[in-house]
């Protein structure tokens, strides 16, 4: 009975929640609105909210100036490629850390996380030189490797915390029945960990999509993703708020839409072992 909620209270909390949610979302909304304004309307004071001459002219200009589709495809390839490769390496690692833990397992995990703390700019020139030697500059493969390595510790950690929640006895039972290690992982472990894997995949696609240092530095044309697309609109001469907003909207729309559609899967697994 104590949890029964009065309509009055529900109305109030609803209003509060919606108010805060809209506040948080507002910068994005404002950016999208601005992308449909003319440059003059975009800097009008006081600002115009909805009642302006809606125009798609900015999108036309942006499409005209840059091959959006190529940038978009590159972002997709890099995001999916690095996540796929990362899973391939992370699943066995997480399996052994979760089910055959040693004394050093936790230290190993921490060490992996600490590789993320090296500031990228400090190693820019060494990495660039290596990329020249291996002919990896401006290739999907090179970028997939780098982005995969940057996110690998997070993937391993997420999977590890998932696998740990799966009772080892089930795997052992499968092994008793004569399953090989490969089929044990493929047919017993992975199906049980689907929610965790789904959410790991989604998180990594988001992180890879939004990585904005290496993707800008190590690419020129063939492998250049949307982060680079943005930097060709970020501060040109003249009024640019509306065009920048249009380009930004185009750069974030795919990932935003993907995120919204899959948010249930993302949220369900986004615990890093924080929920017992």
């Amino acid at each position: 009975m104590a949890r029964a909620v009065t309509t009055r209270r529900k109305t109030l909390t609803t209003l509060a929640a919606w108010g805060i949610a809209l506040l948080i979302f507002f910068p994005i909304l404002w950016m999208i609105l601005t992308s449909f304004k003319t440059e003059q309307d975009a800097v009008l004071s006081p600002p115009v909210w909805f009642w302006f001459d809606w125009t798609t002219e900015n999108y036309v200009t942006v499409m005209d100036r840059a091959n959006y589709f190529r940038f978009f495809m590159n972002s997709v390839i890099i995001a999916i490629g690095s996540t796929a490769l990362g899973l391939l390496i992370a699943i066995p690692a997480a399996w052994s850390m979760a089910f055959v833990p040693g004394a050093k397992t936790k230290d190993l995990l921490m060490w992996m996380l600490s590789t993320k703390m090296m500031p990228g700019v400090a190693v820019l020139v060494p990495i660039y030189l290596i990329f020249i030697k291996l002919k990896l500059l401006d290739t999907h493969f090179g970028l997939i490797i780098v982005i995969m390595l940057i996110n690998l510790p997070i993937i391993i950690w997420m999977l590890y915390t998932y696998f740990k929640e799966i009772p080892g006895e089930i795997l052992e039972a499968a092994r008793m029945d004569g399953a090989t290690l490969r089929s044990e992982i493929l047919y017993v472990l992975l199906p049980m960990a689907i929610p965790g894997i789904a959410s790991t995949v989604l998180l990594n696609i988001i992180l890879a999509w939004n990585e904005a240092f290496w993707t800008i530095t190590l690419t020129t044309v063939d492998a250049a993703p949307l982060t680079k697309f943005i930097s060709s609109f970020s501060s040109p001469q003249g009024l640019f708020y509306a065009k920048l907003s249009a380009a930004s909207t185009m750069a974030i729309a795919p990932i935003l839409i993907m995120g919204w559609f899959s948010q249930k899967q993302l949220v369900r697994g986004l615990t890093f072992g924080a929920v017992k």
Partner: protein
């Protein structure tokens, strides 16, 4: 995982196929300024003349461009065939042997037609290492209506004293009109470009003939005090974050009485996006009675890395983009006011271009800048608003941060100058200029 990977390979394969139609591809790194975007829009004309050469544009914001291009050329990465760089980089990179000499561009390209000041800045040991795409100096742009309302008349060659007086008279903060807009954002190419040029007219210099930094001298103190006084009293709020772009936006919205900045801004403030297009006047950059004006000299130029595999195609492109024909092409498409300015004598001899309101002022400003002898006292360096040594990017930006801190009110002018002096001495000692 298998389907994902084959889809992935398929997608890459498609990309490779779609670019395979041309015999040769040029990768051109350029900055996202209006004139370059226009050039990108005219790719079709180049392709009509050179059907075998495909142009691949990498158009980036200035800072990102500089970072990518510098890393690549210094490590011989070979990612680009044509680079857009400025008067600062060309002599340094040319000396390193990183750029191809352009002395052998075809005769009809007419090297002797280039403005001497611009050509000089791009030449090292008689080799032209970059072809100027557009050149600029700086000048005063002002609102004729506000000036008239203030009962003042802008002389063709104003003094700093007059600028202060006019800024005071035009400022009307209640209506968001600020007498003067100047650069304040930290950066060697942002506030330091303006302040270094301005300091020349106050008789200041970066280094004496023995490379000793001069920020502890009287001339810099006067420069900075004058600048801070001007900006604190008559400038817009948040000026410490305003660069070229922010000021351009403010001016176009009618919020600035005067703006001293690049001559290329003229076509923007009189252009379609501007709310004050028909109320803009131009004047030479101010002086202080010492025989030097506070105007700079810059040319965005096209250079070819010495290591490119497509030397002939790259030269064909550079010659096309910086030719007289290209100018005529832009004029035919978008009018004479929009052609890339400031590179050729013939352009300023053209009666049609002379009709453009800012043409003569631009030419006079460019011609009055002298990179080898920028200020009152002799200097050991080349460059009006910069010092053409590799260390300047770092030093200039650090000093720029000190001055923008002074503008934001976080530091006194004296403290900022003292800090600038200390860090410049340190950097110059590190680099071996000061023994």
């Amino acid at each position: 995982m298998k389907p994902t990977f084959s889809a992935l390979l398929g997608a890459t394969g498609l990309c490779a196929l779609s670019t395979g139609a041309f015999a040769e591809t040029l990768t051109i790194a350029t900055v996202n300024n209006g004139d370059m975007i226009r050039m990108q829009g005219l790719t079709a004309d180049f392709n009509a003349k050179y059907p075998d050469i495909e142009l691949e544009w990498v158009t980036l914001e200035e800072n990102v461009l500089r970072q990518n291009v510098t890393t690549d050329i210094a490590t011989q990465g070979g990612q680009y065939d044509v680079l857009t760089i400025g008067t600062y980089e060309v002599p340094i990179w040319g000396k390193q042997g990183w750029l191809a000499s352009l002395n052998d561009l075809p005769a009809e390209w007419d090297i002797d037609d280039l403005l001497p000041a611009i050509r000089g800045g791009l030449t090292v040991d008689d080799n032209l290492y970059a072809a100027p795409f557009y050149g600029e100096s700086s000048m005063v742009m002002y609102r004729t209506d506000l000036m008239a309302a203030a009962g003042l008349e802008m002389p063709e060659a104003p003094t700093w004293g007059f600028i202060r007086q006019a800024a005071e008279a035009m400022t009307d903060k209640d209506n968001e009109i600020y007498g003067i807009c100047l650069r304040g954002k930290a950066g060697w190419g942002e506030n330091m470009a303006f302040l270094t040029a301005m300091s020349n007219s106050f008789g200041a210099r970066w280094f004496d003939m023995d490379w000793n930094p001069q920020f502890d001298g009287e001339a810099w103190a006067t420069t900075l005090d004058f600048y801070l006084d001007l900006m604190n009293n008559f400038g817009p709020p948040g000026a410490s974050n305003n660069g070229f772009n922010e000021n351009l936006t403010l001016f176009q919205q009618g919020k600035c009485g005067m703006w001293i900045d690049a001559t290329v801004a003229a076509s923007f403030v009189t252009g379609a996006d501007s709310t004050v297009a028909d109320k803009v006047g131009f004047a030479l950059a101010p002086d202080n009675g010492l025989g030097r004006r506070g105007n700079w000299l810059w040319a965005w130029s096209l250079a070819i890395p010495a290591s490119t595999d497509s030397m002939d195609a790259a030269k064909a492109f550079v010659a096309w983009a910086t030719s007289k024909e290209y100018t005529a092409l832009v004029a035919a498409n978008e009018g004479w006011a929009n052609v890339p300015p400031g590179t050729r004598t013939s352009l300023y001899a053209n009666p049609e271009y002379q009709a453009v309101p800012f043409a003569q002022m631009t030419l006079d400003s460019i011609n009055s800048a002298d990179p080898t002898n920028p200020t009152v006292d002799p200097v050991p360096y080349v460059g009006v608003q910069f010092v053409a040594i590799p260390e300047f990017q770092g030093i200039g930006t650090s000093v720029g941060q000190e001055f923008s801190a002074a503008l934001a009110g976080q530091k006194s002018a004296a403290d900022a100058l003292a800090a600038a002096q200390t860090l410049t001495v340190q950097a110059m000692t590190d680099a071996g200029y000061i023994q």
